[in-house]
């Protein structure tokens, strides 16, 4: 659930999502769920000539299973906190066993 919580903390920030079909969409993260399905608002596509159907789309839902990368705003990411929560999650799961 770490990545879900992490993405929830990025709601409202600008991200670029690259899909497995090479379409990359830049937009504001509106919502995310446990499958990492995401919804973006106010989107722009980096290569509108190749994807002419995306020009008239303002906000969109992206299924988590088709995402290749998510580019994050580096100043919004606390890597120290991420590393710590990763260790904590690992320790918690070990304690449960």
């Amino acid at each position: 659930m770490l990545f879900f919580s992490f993405f929830k903390s990025l709601v409202g920030k600008d991200v670029v999502i690259e899909l497995k079909n090479d379409l990359s969409i830049c937009g504001t993260l509106h919502s995310v769920d446990q499958y990492l399905n995401m919804k973006l608002t106010d989107i722009t596509v980096s290569d509108p000539e190749r994807f002419p159907h995306m020009v008239s789309v303002k906000n969109c839902f992206i299924r988590g299973s088709v995402v290749r990368y998510v580019q994050l705003p580096s100043d919004q990411v606390d890597t120290q906190l991420l590393a710590d929560s990763c260790r904590k999650e690992l320790a918690d799961s070990k304690a449960k066993q």
Binding site: G12, V57, R63
Partner: protein, 125 residues
């Protein structure tokens, strides 16, 4: 953390698009446009008055598909369409579209056909 109120995560957030005109891109690259009537947590979608849009360069063509249930696993992306945004694309009839597509393919043959043609040339030489 500023979350929209009510916060509808992921697939459920498509509730906000209910009864709106939606563009759905499927995993095989097809583009379907229709009015969203129902959704569930798997992003299974029910669309009404669906048309499939096919594109070649600056032209597109629509073919009616009626009423559809799309299984969520095939959905890549679903976006709300704003008709007020100019796209610079021209809609043509299916016959006209086929002609444009044939012309385009004659000028830009798909890569696998190109490779095949090169091979036969090599073979003949």
């Amino acid at each position: 953390m500023d979350l929209p109120d009510p916060y509808l995560p992921g697939a459920i957030s498509l509730f906000e698009q209910l009864d709106k005109k939606l563009l759905v891109v499927l995993r095989d690259g097809r583009k379907l446009i229709g009015f969203l009537r129902s959704i569930d947590q798997f992003a299974n979608l029910i669309l009404e008055d669906v048309v499939e849009r096919t594109f070649v360069e600056k032209y597109f063509c629509e073919t009616g598909q009626g009423f559809m249930l799309i299984r969520g696993e095939n959905v890549e992306l679903a976006g709300e369409i704003d008709d007020s945004i100019p796209t610079g694309l021209t809609q043509v009839s299916p016959e006209e579209f086929r002609r444009i597509e044939d012309e385009y393919l004659a000028k830009n043959p798909p890569k696998f056909l190109k490779r095949q043609a090169e091979k036969t040339e090599e073979h003949e030489a």
